[in-house]
Amino acid sequence: MNSLFFRKMVVALTGLFLCTFLIVHLSANFILLLPESMARELYNSYSTTLRESPLIKIIAYVLYAAILLHAFYALLITLRNRKAKPEKYVVNHSNENSTWTSQNMGLIGTIILLFLVLHLANFWARIKLGIGEEVGLDALGNRDVYEVAYTLFHNIYYVIFYTLISIPLGLHLHHGLKSAFKSLGFYHKKGLQLLAKVSVIYAVIMGVGFGIIPIIVYFK
Amino acid sequence: MKLNSKIPEGPLENKWRNYQVQSHLINPTNKKKLSVIVVGSGLSGAGAASTLAELGYDVKCFCYQDSARRAHSVAAQGGINAAKNYQHDGDSIYRMFYDTLKGGDFRSREANTYRLAELSAPLIDHFVQQGVPFAREYGGTLDNRSFGGVQVQRTFYARGQTGQQLMLAAYSQLYKMVRAKKVEMFPRSEMLDLVVIDGKAKGIIVRNLVTGELQRYAADAVVLATGGYSRVFRLSTLAIGCNGSAVWKAHKKGAFFGAPSFTQIHPTALPQSSEAQSKLTLMSESLRNDGRIWVPKEIGDTRLPNKIPEEERDYYLERRYPSYGNLAPRDIASRAAKERIDAGYGIGKLKNAVYLDFKHAIEKFGLKTIKDRYGNLFNMYQKITGIDAYKEPMQISPAAHFSMGGLWVDYELMTTIPGLYAVGECNFSDHGANRLGANSLLQASVDGYFILPNTINNYLATESKADHPSIDHPEFGKAEQEISEHITRILAINGTKTVDHFHRELGRVMWQECAMSRNKAGLEKAIREIKQIREAFWKEVKVTGKHNEMNPELEKALRLADFIELGILMCTDALEREESCGAHFREEFQSAEGEALRRDEKFAYVSAWEYDKGDFKLHKEALEFEFVNPSVRSYK
């Protein structure tokens, strides 16, 4: 169970789960783009529903576990892979045979992880754990999560940061999605060609989607 | 000493069976107590080592490369012949035997050649079982192609990588036995001497190429599978590391050398382009299936090949040999190319090449078919020359290739030293004066897999009662001492010229006088010159580095020292054989049309040379043709 292959499987499976999660996450975030009157109520009631559903509670724990496992096993693999190449080349033009992203998934992943810490502090810690400034209620009595996002994205530094972070996110997802399938043993030739395209489309939607929301909210 | 070829009784088709019935066997328990050294890990070496290990012997296998898989068997591109008659085109064991004997210009033993053909079919079965991905028809059956010197399609192939694929199968099987702890593998180890105790081969002295340490290994029998020695010409199709040292050391310890001068010059190699060149890359002969060879009809025609119209091209092979055309045997095709090049019709930068053109084949079969058949060869050609051969013809030129000659062996593949066997290219056995294309992989494999594992029992059965040799025997000490002194001597010269300098010199003389065409005066001159080279080498060579470390320059020097001596023997042999046969073409002996003139009445024998304190003594093994009547070889 401690084999390299097992670790790869964990990273691939958790990665795919996180990819699926991101689809749900982004879809919900698109609510933020609606006119304010609609957006606030819809977004808040949606988040209340999520918070109170026992199924979602379980999924939430799976999600935390997935993030931790993904990061932990990716770290293990990276450490092991570094050990496999203790001495680096004096000159290495890896850009001529592979993409920068594929060579730097660990670095990109670390950036995303750091972002995640901030992101959780911004939202999850306040809403779920009640740390920091208290979150008020909206007209329907739901916790006003919308307000949290709205305030945050009216801080220009956060907007820039959240938008910029969507670039490494997109890159990470692009390489991660197709590689996850290959790690799991998907090798159908035509299927892989399709997968390559799907990965691009997916990564662009996620990157642009998550990147553009703060900007639009900022100008609202 | 009288040469005994030990050919079994009976009609041709029963000889091998009769031999097997009559030879001694060893019971499994005793086999475990017997050890065999195999030097070389190519097709014959790996085949022999793995099969002997499967039989129960304790095997040690040595190679100079970093892995057994690198042996130069990998380089054979075109294919392997077998008398399967899958194409229903009238092939049979007998026809294959006859083609091979005729291809060799009747200078090999009938019995050996017949056995080669006989064991070819089971060999294909063997390799298929070992997972060789041979080319297939859509229906799933094995595909065949044709090859030079024959009129049937009996060549099995795996794209342009047949040698590599067979080699990998042999290497796989070898490592299966390494895993089973029945074979101990010693890569980066070069045999530097043979140890003979009481007239029998009992071990070898090896130089560990990583540490430089001299090591002793003892065994009940020694098998040499060390390949060909055409690097004596320096420029050849062989790997740079291929050498003649093992066979030469065995020769000096008493093994007779058979037909040393029989060297095949391959017609389709890439031409030499500069003095610094180290190697001539072979383009598979299979290209001659669909490619047409030509030169311009006019001397000094500088137009691009595609600009030269059909009627101004001389398809000289088709002109001279209408029934075989571009598929004439190698020696004939090479000589015909040399004839055109010498007459001034050569093409290319150095005017040393001829065209091999696929235009017609592409028109006829379509680009896809040609790509399917030769794709990787065309790729390789482009990688090396930068030319796209789908668009313009290849430029090819003859190059030193295969050593038909080698240690003289009897029907059991044993040399004149009891307990010393030679298998594969390093022996002289089946090909006579010229080898047919796609017979080399065949002979190497059949020797290693099928013949040796049967015949070696016959010898070891007697040895199982004898004492097992020990590396503490004084003969081991003596051999190691000699080698150690030899190395010290070379390192101490500290002259002013590099090893490569002398190798270029030797190659120049050998290529000039002892390659495609030879004559008395030239050979006599060559012997004198090589002796001068030898003298100069031992006075002026400079080898840096130490003996007790990895020292590639020392390795080269040791090999060259042996090549120089071997070159003298090759010229001596070529000089002695006053006839033209196969690849051996003596200018004094040719017909009015310039074809080889064989002299059966005087030279129907195998020359077996005995080393005699720096000189060579000729022994003759008469070739008796009981079953076929040696005809004049005609491919017209």
Binding site: R7, I77 | A71, Q165, M550
Partner: protein
Amino acid sequence: MKVIFKIWRQEGPNEKGTIRDYEVDGLNEDMSFLEALDHLNELLVLKNEKVIAFEYDCREGICGQCGVFINGRAHGPHDNITTCQLHMRSFKDGDTIVVEPWRAASFPVIKDLIVDRSALDRIIEQGAFITAKTGTAPEANSILIPKETADRAMDAAACIGCGACVATCKNSSAALFTAAKINHFNSLPQGKAEEHKRVAEMMFQMEIEGFGSCTFTGACEVECPESISITNIAEMNARYVKSKLLK
């Protein structure tokens, strides 16, 4: 033609290595890269220096013995060739050429540019064979193999074992090498009997030899002289999963 070679020199496995500069004149474009090194070595001998140890044998791109890192690429600047197929016409007069040995924990340097690749042999030893003794084979055409199957097996079997995949991989993964061999055998009917054992044992060996894992950068298939597709690795993974599930 004149170039400046910057070449890794290292006396032995435990010695410290360093890059040394050699200005070499008298080269020409038709020389192969290895012939240029030969030329340099001759000059070194005449200067009473030790020659640079580097690997080669067939010099026609098939034995897999040669292989160095040249100007930041395995086997030099071109895709899908061996070092011996690289020619000086790929460089310009006055170029600087940096030459380093393959780098991987599993490929320790023996001397200068020579590394020990025996780890690859040991992967082969763990199952890249068909357990059948010489002399036991059935008639070759008794098992029909569709052309497509044979062709695919051949695509994978084309690997020459040079180790460029490991050298170029940032993880020093031997996945392409191992996958090519496993897929060659496992896709043929002859290899079926031992397919699960083969994939499990060879992949296990790959790991204990210290090679890293595949993260699909795709560098290997660009440097592979035989253009073996990285899809082979995905296929090997599938075979591995299957072997575990069917155990």
